[in-house]
């Protein structure tokens, strides 16, 4: 589904991603872990071109994402993204937050979008908040809405950038629950997270990043039971 070829990203002279080549298949749930500053978020943000790669290629279903001639908006419509800080639109009701993009991109009529929004809200148990504003919701509710907003575009792939890192501890569970459900439905997911439990339970593959490289990767069972690199062992000993 996604091919990453020799991806490098530098901010000025600082090299954040160092020649990464990786492939992600349809239906995979790839969990990316690693210390802060290791480049995990930048890697994720390169996939939908929120960051422009310095070198290399990102190929999504045959389309080179970082080619000037590619209609990046069309590509992004197929990749949902969930942010650490939710980034809901504070000036709109929840319903409009969800329906804005499907309607503006002519994916749906307002009526269809409303119907989709209500169905999705029902799924995450927030149907009664459709006419609320983001400021009236808790962090966990906001993040569930943000997931729903991305899903309303009917994406083929979902990117999660530390979706639970800004939440109060008691709200982490409700967000992970929604993500688990999504995983069980077969959604292809790339998740940057510090939730090792989630990685173990939901991931089909764990990537460990450090210093702008993917240092080690494996199935969650193998990865957590038998880490190979010393750097991985050090990291896991601190977070587990």
């Amino acid at each position: 589904m996604i091919d990453v070829e020799h991806l490098s990203k530098a901010f000025g002279s600082h090299l954040v991603l160092d020649d990464i080549t990786e492939h992600i298949d349809q239906g995979e749930k790839v969990v990316i872990i690693g210390p802060s500053g290791s480049g995990k978020s930048t890697f994720l943000r390169c996939l939908n071109l929120l960051e422009n790669p310095t070198k290399g290629k990102i190929i999504f279903e045959g389309t080179v994402v970082n080619d000037r001639k590619t209609d990046i908006n069309a590509v992004r419509r197929q990749m949902g993204m969930v942010f650490q800080h939710f980034n809901l639109f504070p000036n709109m009701t929840i319903r409009r937050n969800i329906t804005l993009a499907p309607v503006q991109t002519k994916l749906m009529s307002q009526e269809e979008a409303d119907k989709t929004a209500m169905a999705l809200l029902d799924r995450v148990g927030l149907k009664d908040r459709a006419e609320s504003y983001p400021a009236q919701l808790s962090g966990g509710q906001k993040q569930r809405i943000a997931i729903v907003r991305a899903l309303a575009m009917k994406p083929k792939l979902m990117l999660f950038d530390e979706p639970t890192s800004a939440l109060d501890p008691e709200m982490v569970g409700e967000v992970l629950e929604v993500m688990k459900e999504l995983a069980h439905e077969g959604m292809t997911m790339v998740v940057v997270t510090h939730e090792m439990g989630f990685a173990r339970e939901v991931g089909t593959r764990v990537l460990f990043m450090d210093g702008g490289k993917i240092l080690e990767q494996n199935t969650p069972q193998e990865f957590f039971a038998n880490p190979r690199e010393q750097r991985t062992i050090d990291f896991l000993s601190k977070v587990l």
């Binding site: 992004r76 980034n87 639109f89 000036n91 993009a101």
Partner: protein
């Protein structure tokens, strides 16, 4: 004790009467007020729109748009508005129009645009960068994200400074006497030359300015409260 005070008040009452009611002199103020408001409103219409154009040019990725906007803003903000008004009247529009009202409206519109551009820009910059990213990640174009997501929030950010610019503009137009336009301030000279008293007309004019600016402030404060509906918990 009370007699001199009473006499003083009565005396001032007479002066006020002379300056305002006698021979329908209030009509002079009304005329001046009309001109002050017309210039202000005309100028704010220009600067509200042209300021936005300048702001978008400044935020553009293209040097050819950014540079002229930056130069315009720098130059306009670096020259006193009276000088700009005189340049407009005696140089730029000398052979274009004799209509002093038009000259004044253009001069103040051109001046205020530079400030408006900066007001808009700071309003847009104050919107969290995550908003643009969220919009773009959903597949909206930059323009769509700007229009539906960034601008509505930026307007809310701009409103307090927009209000002060509006109020500043009302007061700044007091210099149009330099091109012999009779605005509210200029009425003072006419009345003073009739009554030989400065106190009463100046007081009347000061009160009139205050009422205009206070009314504006109240109207915009009301709008601000309405725009903040989405922030309430």
């Amino acid at each position: 004790m009370a007699v001199p005070l009473f006499n003083g008040l009565a005396d001032f009452g007479t002066k006020l009467y002379q300056a305002f009611l006698f021979e329908d002199r209030w009509k002079l103020y009304l005329g001046g007020l009309g001109n002050t408001l017309a210039i202000t409103l005309g100028a704010i219409c220009i600067s509200t729109v042209f300021g936005m154009v300048l702001c978008l040019m400044r935020l553009s990725k293209h040097q050819v748009l950014r540079w002229p906007a930056q130069a315009y803003i720098d130059i306009i903000r670096g020259i006193p508005v009276v000088v700009q008004l005189l340049i407009m009247y005696n140089v730029v529009l000398l052979n274009v129009t004799d209509n002093k009202m038009v000259v004044a409206i253009i001069a103040f519109g051109v001046n205020s645009s530079a400030y408006m551009a900066e007001i808009y820009r700071s309003g847009i910059n104050a919107v969290d960068s995550g908003q643009m990213e969220a919009g773009r990640s959903l597949g909206l174009s930059r323009a769509q994200t700007m229009w539906h997501i960034i601008f509505p929030q930026a307007i809310k950010n701009c409103l307090p400074t927009y209000t002060s610019e509006f109020i500043v503009l009302v007061k700044e137009t007091a210099v149009v006497g330099y091109i012999a336009l009779v605005d509210l301030t200029k009425v003072y000279s006419s009345v003073q030359s009739l009554t030989y008293d400065a106190t009463a007309p100046l007081l009347i004019i000061a009160v009139a300015y205050f009422i205009i600016t206070k009314t504006l402030a109240l109207i915009f404060a009301h709008m601000e409260r309405r725009l903040q509906a989405s922030d309430r918990r």
